[in-house]
């Protein structure tokens, strides 16, 4: 053993205890845990905001909150859920699982890893403190369109800096994932043997590095327009407010795949495990993910069909958008084909994965409808759009996050979770989430606009049903916390493999795994390849 190795041996079991352990940790599992806990807390903060929205919309007329506050809730709910819940949750899974899946001792850049996490609590302090500021929290929508967003009060520079800060965290996290996968793989772990979660995450990381800086540029221009007299988004100076939308969505569309691509990796891990069959079409899954990532950079203007664009632009962005259905269809086909003639069992992770496949596909179909330019002219900014992106984000991204948590919780804690409670959590969630979001399709098609605290009486019935679904769904998630808490505290001992059909390097480590994952690289013969 070299000097270097003995040097790190000095360190790795001597970490400070208590708060200092978590503040200073460079360990991928500790950092992963921190990310996942932050995401869970943010999920409930953002969820509480969603319940304010749904409480206000329970009936027509104004009930509980002022319109300005309502608008703050829609804005901050979105920012918290996207940047505070889903993205950190994915980075948490990346931290926990990628080193174990590729046979590495840790992430490649451990101190940078600590920093990318410890930015986030500070960034969200900046963002959430605006709720208490004069003029209230940002209320112009999470997309921050000028000129509306420039009317934000004291919160405005805090919003901009919070976005910069979160962006720095995402870029640092993405760099770490890419470097880890390309430089830390165990001998024999070739690229086409990588588990799909690793593949989808590196593609996500490329999207992050290419798109987040563009967002940083866009919000910087907002800041100088507001405080330093520039005219990027003011026609009076020769700029164009629509230009903001172009720059924003150049970031924004890759961003939605940042939220969903790792989910594809999760489903591709869970379905083969519980179907007890290798994944159908592994390499086509890899190529489809890459194709989706490429296309995500040339579809952005489908978010802005109604703002005014040359006809050639409307057509180009419609065709590229609809083209995304092809690689996405490849994925859904492969998951279904994996289940064909298999021997499936329905543990909680599998239930959530199946829920994902059905419900995400519904969200995909409504996305196709929205992608067709002339049709979008009617749907734009209605509740149909809200229904669409909540199907892909809640029953898509969030369901897969929950599925992944149940899937790996026994590996992390060394205990089996309570299967009965897990199943109850699934059934409550899957029913209530449809009660919550399915009626919003009808509301949108009938013309109910989004981001408005009041509505015309003909929308009353479906809104009431949707709000009931929202409260059931929201409170059902407390059950998730109970299951996690019980599993951390104790329960039936988990084996190393945990699931009968589980394959992959992470299942060769004991449950819970050692502090540093693979001190010595795994035997090349134990590497089976990502089909599993």
């Amino acid at each position: 053993m070299s000097e270097a190795a003995s040097h790190h041996d000095d360190h790795h079991d001597h970490h400070p205890s208590g708060l200092m352990r978590w503040l200073t940790t460079t360990n991928h599992k500790d950092i992963g845990t921190l990310y996942l806990l932050l995401a869970l807390v943010m999920f409930f903060i953002g969820g509480a905001m969603a319940l304010v929205i749904r409480a206000e919309l329970f009936q027509p007329g104004l009930q509980f909150v002022q319109p300005q506050f309502f608008n703050s809730m829609t804005t901050v709910h979105a920012l918290v859920m996207i940047f505070g819940a889903v993205m950190p949750a994915w980075t948490g899974f990346a931290n926990w699982m990628i080193p174990m899946m590729i046979g590495a001792p840790d992430m490649a850049l451990p101190r940078l890893n600590n920093w990318s996490f410890w930015i986030l609590p500070f960034a969200f302090t900046l963002l959430l403190s605006t709720v208490f500021m004069p003029g209230g929290a940002p209320a112009g929508g999470w997309t921050m369109y000028p000129p509306l967003v420039l009317q934000t009060g004291a919160a405005f520079p805090f919003l901009i800096f919070a976005v910069h800060f979160m962006g720095a965290s995402s870029i640092a996290g993405a760099i770490n994932v890419i470097v880890t996968v390309f430089n830390m793989r165990a001998p024999g772990m070739t690229l086409m043997k990588l588990p799909l979660f690793v593949w989808t995450w590196i593609i996500t990381a490329f999207l992050l590095i290419a798109s987040i800086p563009v967002l940083a540029g866009a919000v910087t221009m907002l800041l100088t327009d507001k405080f330093f007299g520039t005219s990027f988004f003011s026609a009076a100076g020769g700029g164009d407010p629509v230009m903001f939308q172009h720059i924003f969505w150049f970031f924004g569309h890759p961003e939605v795949y940042i939220l969903i691509l790792p989910a594809f990796g999760i489903i591709s891990a869970i379905v083969p495990t519980f179907a007890r069959k290798p994944l159908f079409g592994y390499s086509s899954m890899v190529y489809a993910s890459a194709a989706i990532a490429f296309l995500s950079f040339i579809v952005w203007a489908h978010h802005m069909f109604t703002v005014g664009m040359p006809l050639a632009g409307e057509l180009f962005f419609m065709y590229t958008t609809v083209l995304i259905a092809v690689p996405t269809g490849v994925k859904v086909f492969n998951w279904v084909a994996t289940m064909w003639h298999s021997s499936m069992t329905f543990e909680t992770p599998m239930l959530f994965a199946l829920g994902f496949i059905v419900l995400f596909t519904i969200g995909g179909f409504s996305g196709l409808m929205l992608g067709v330019t002339p049709v979008d002219f009617q749907y734009h900014d209605t509740y149909f759009v809200v229904a669409h992106f909540h199907y892909v984000l809640v029953t898509g991204a969030v369901f897969s996050l929950i599925a992944a948590t149940y899937f790996w919780l026994p590996k992390w804690t060394g205990h089996m979770y309570d299967e009965k409670l897990g199943k109850l959590h699934f059934w409550l969630s899957v029913i209530s989430v449809n009660v919550l979001f399915f009626p919003q399709h009808f509301l949108g098609l009938a013309g109910m606009p989004r981001r408005i605290p009041d509505y015309s009486v003909q929308f009353a019935d479906w809104n009431m049903i949707s709000s009931i679904g929202a409260f059931v769904f929201g409170f059902s998630q407390l059950l998730f916390v109970v299951v996690i808490w019980k599993c951390v505290k104790g329960g039936e001992k988990a084996t190393a493999q945990v699931w009968e059909g589980a394959h992959g390097l992470e299942w060769t480590l004991p449950s819970p795994p050692p502090y540093h994952s693979f001190e010595t690289p795994p035997e090349p013969s134990t590497i089976e390849g990502g089909m599993r």
Partner: protein, 291 residues
């Protein structure tokens, strides 16, 4: 790829990252309150900046100490290289946003305001007297934005600055050759020249800004031309300044005898960064000053 994982250096617990976050958080709070007009803002900003300087010395100091003690093997070195490469790529994308704004306003928004394409009604109802041109000396409205006399020509200071930056790319490479040959004199001389050229560039750019503000009337407020001009060249100038500081640190380390002909990631990272700044400048020279 890993031959032996156990050789990979994994640093122990570190307080630097979280202190970095506290420093930047303090700077953001100070900056935001300053922009909101609170008197205490600049003091908070200053306190955050001091803490940030402390972090820069402390964190980089730790890393330099570890590097000199020889615990970074080739495998760790590859991680650093990949990390720096992707960081620079993220910077490229940051500049892409501003170049995008420049192209969009030149190709679309300004001509549309002048009535081109389907912009006839826009022109008629907003500012019928507005004539589209580039550079846009006279913004559509005087309300909030000012006109200016002329732009900074490409073949004066910007041309000389182009030569300066290209030469500095050469001198830093020459210094690298010196380092690889073990010729420390050439290394130090090359770095001194590069730092001086970088500082000259920044000084000339600052003088040019003074000229633009005071004699040409070209300011941040000068419509979309002023906005794109100052944000693009300003962020570039900031990057050149940071690059010069980084080169200066490398120079000091070279004088102290750091780096070996085989092991000098920090030198190369800064050199890459310097070339990146150089390439961005070529883009600026062509699209902002020249065309």
């Amino acid at each position: 790829m890993a031959a032996a994982h156990t050789d990979y250096y994994i640093p122990g617990p570190s307080h630097w990252p979280v202190v970095t976050s506290i420093a930047i958080f303090t700077m953001f709070v100070g900056g935001a309150t300053t922009l909101n007009g609170a008197g205490i803002g600049p003091m908070i900003l200053g306190a955050g900046f001091l803490l940030f300087l402390y972090v820069l010395f402390g964190w980089f100091g730790t890393v330099i100490g570890e590097s000199e003690s020889g615990i970074y093997n080739d495998h760790v070195d590859v991680s650093f290289r990949m990390g720096m490469m992707w960081f620079i790529f993220s910077e490229v994308m940051f500049f892409a946003a501003f170049f995008g704004a420049l192209y969009y306003s030149r190709i679309y928004s300004v001509p549309w305001l002048g009535g081109e394409g389907s912009g006839a009604a826009t022109n008629q109802f907003l500012w019928p007297d507005f004539v589209a041109s580039w550079p846009l000396l006279q913004p559509p409205s005087d309300y909030g934005f000012s006109s200016f006399k002329e732009t900074i020509g490409a073949w004066g200071v910007p041309f000389w600055n182009t030569l300066i930056l290209l030469t500095s790319g050469g001198t830093v490479t020459w210094a690298h050759w010196g380092l690889q040959k073990g010729n420390r004199q050439q290394l130090v001389l090359g770095l001194v020249l590069t730092v001086l050229l970088g500082a000259t560039f920044v000084t000339m750019q600052a003088m040019e800004y003074g000229h633009a503000y005071h004699e040409l009337g070209l300011t941040l407020n000068s419509g979309i031309y002023g906005a794109t001009f100052f944000l693009l060249t300003g962020f570039h100038g900031f990057h050149v300044t940071m690059g010069t500081v980084m080169l200066f640190v490398i120079l000091m380390r070279s004088i102290k005898g750091h780096f070996t002909p085989k092991h000098h990631f920090a030198f190369e990272a800064v050199a890459w960064y310097w070339h990146f700044v150089d390439v961005v400048w070529i883009g600026l020279f062509i699209f902002v000053y020249w065309l």
